[in-house]
């Protein structure tokens, strides 16, 4: 059994030697624990991850369950909602009967069982863990983040709007990166956390980098190169951070036809940034997580400065808004 601390929550992996167990230990890498969370008022939450032979072991009384609905998330993972007799929260089944995950949420704990052996299974388990973390009171954002001059920024945008290239431009300009893809935010402290080891870059994004980095033989997964933060930060003489407070939320807009050196910061309303945040967060499965997310997004929108950043197709250095003329 292995336990990993994720912002004052315990992720207990009962089968650390399994493929999923090894993936989770590599993925979280113990980087997300942080002494700053000691002051957080969030109570402890335990997430147990257990390998199970078959789905039948979990539901020996199928007549007591009722299949309610199905939705599909990233990687085309199907989610089924099961109502179980005498249980307050439903049980969610992610994946399939031969390769999937069940997620049960209690007041102060979550139980995740997984079965099967397909390559996507670790990612399905990860999706369930993210749901459990949302249920515990954290906000999970699909966004990039970096800081400069003691100010933390979150960059929001749909796929293709340039989150990754904006982060690369920021790193090249001396910003400290936090995350390229996913951030966990503790709303009690307004601290954002990142734990990725590498930035995943499409070949086109790799062109943003200087030649020595561009021509390096980086690992490739699916169609993306994995460029370690350490390599990027060493080369561009900046420092990776795993945690900082958020002051600014930035809605990205990319004008691919614009060949000028466009980098225009404009302040926008709390309503506009709230809508962008919801598009980034997505809708959590449980009602409690939905209510938490609504509270946290409201707080984030009220306490941060909201910006729209319009970028052209020239990958020039990225200046923060206060440096604009």
């Amino acid at each position: 059994m292995t336990s990993i601390n994720i912002i004052n929550r315990s992720l207990v992996i009962k089968n650390p030697e399994s493929k999923v167990g090894q993936f989770l230990q590599y993925f979280w890498n113990n980087t997300i624990k942080d002494n700053k969370t000691k002051n957080s008022s969030t109570s402890a939450f335990n997430i147990s991850i257990i390998e199970t032979n078959t789905i039948e072991e979990l539901f020996s009384h199928p007549s007591k369950t009722f299949l309610q609905s199905v939705k599909t998330i990233e990687h085309n993972i199907d989610i089924f909602t099961l109502t179980i007799a005498n249980e307050q929260e439903p049980c969610w089944l992610l994946g399939t009967s031969t390769n999937g995950v069940s997620l049960r949420l209690k007041n102060k704990s979550a139980l995740i069982n997984y079965w099967g052996d397909e390559f996507l299974l670790p990612h399905i388990v990860l999706a369930a863990i993210i749901e459990a973390l949302r249920y515990s009171g954290l906000l999970c954002l699909h966004a990039a983040s970096a800081s400069i001059n003691g100010q933390g920024y979150i960059f929001l945008g749909k796929s293709g709007t340039g989150k990754t290239t904006t982060l690369l431009r920021a790193i090249k300009s001396g910003w400290s990166p936090l995350a390229e893809d996913t951030i966990l935010l503790d709303p009690t402290t307004m601290l954002a956390y990142g734990w990725e080891k590498s930035i995943r870059l499409l070949p086109t994004s790799l062109q943003v980098l200087d030649k020595p980095l561009r021509s390096h033989d980086w690992d490739k997964n699916f169609d993306k190169f994995s460029v370690p933060y350490n390599s990027l930060c060493d080369y561009y003489a900046t420092e990776r951070q795993h945690c900082f407070p958020i002051h600014h939320i930035v809605q990205l807009a990319r004008h691919k036809d614009n060949q000028d050196n466009l980098c225009q910061w404009t302040q926008i309303s709390a309503i506009d940034i709230t809508k962008s945040l919801w598009n980034t967060v997505g809708l959590p499965l449980s009602e409690r997580s939905q209510q938490f997310s609504a509270q946290h997004i409201g707080k984030l929108a009220r306490h941060s400065t909201a910006w729209r950043l319009e970028l052209g197709n020239i990958n020039s250095p990225l200046a923060p808004p206060s440096f604009q003329s």
């Binding site: 709390a270 309503i271 709230t274 919801w278 939905q290 609504a294 997004i297 409201g298 929108a301 009220r302």
Partner: protein
């Protein structure tokens, strides 16, 4: 008439304004300060009661407040954020 807020609508409170999120179709709708008052009081106080709450807090005429509220409610009904039924 009885107004009923659709079950599961998620409210994000920005203090003076409110963003509504429909859990089924993910549509979002933002309410300004007076719209927020109408929304918060519509189910419990009904249309007239919600209008009176607006008049208590804002310097406007009843006719203007009713016109604005009717327009808002039409949009919210059309977007399936609320439903309307005849009072029994």
């Amino acid at each position: 008439m009885t107004y009923t807020i659709t079950k599961g609508i998620i409210e994000t409170d920005l203090e003076n304004e409110l963003v509504l999120l429909h859990p089924e179709n993910r549509n979002m709708y933002s309410l300004n300060e007076t719209g927020r008052i109408i929304w918060k009081n519509l189910e419990s106080l009904g249309f007239e009661g919600a209008i009176n709450q607006v008049l208590k807090e804002y310097d406007t005429t009843k006719e203007q407040a009713m016109r604005d509220a009717e327009k808002l409610l039409q949009e919210l009904i059309q977007a399936n954020f609320i439903s309307i039924s005849k009072a029994t």
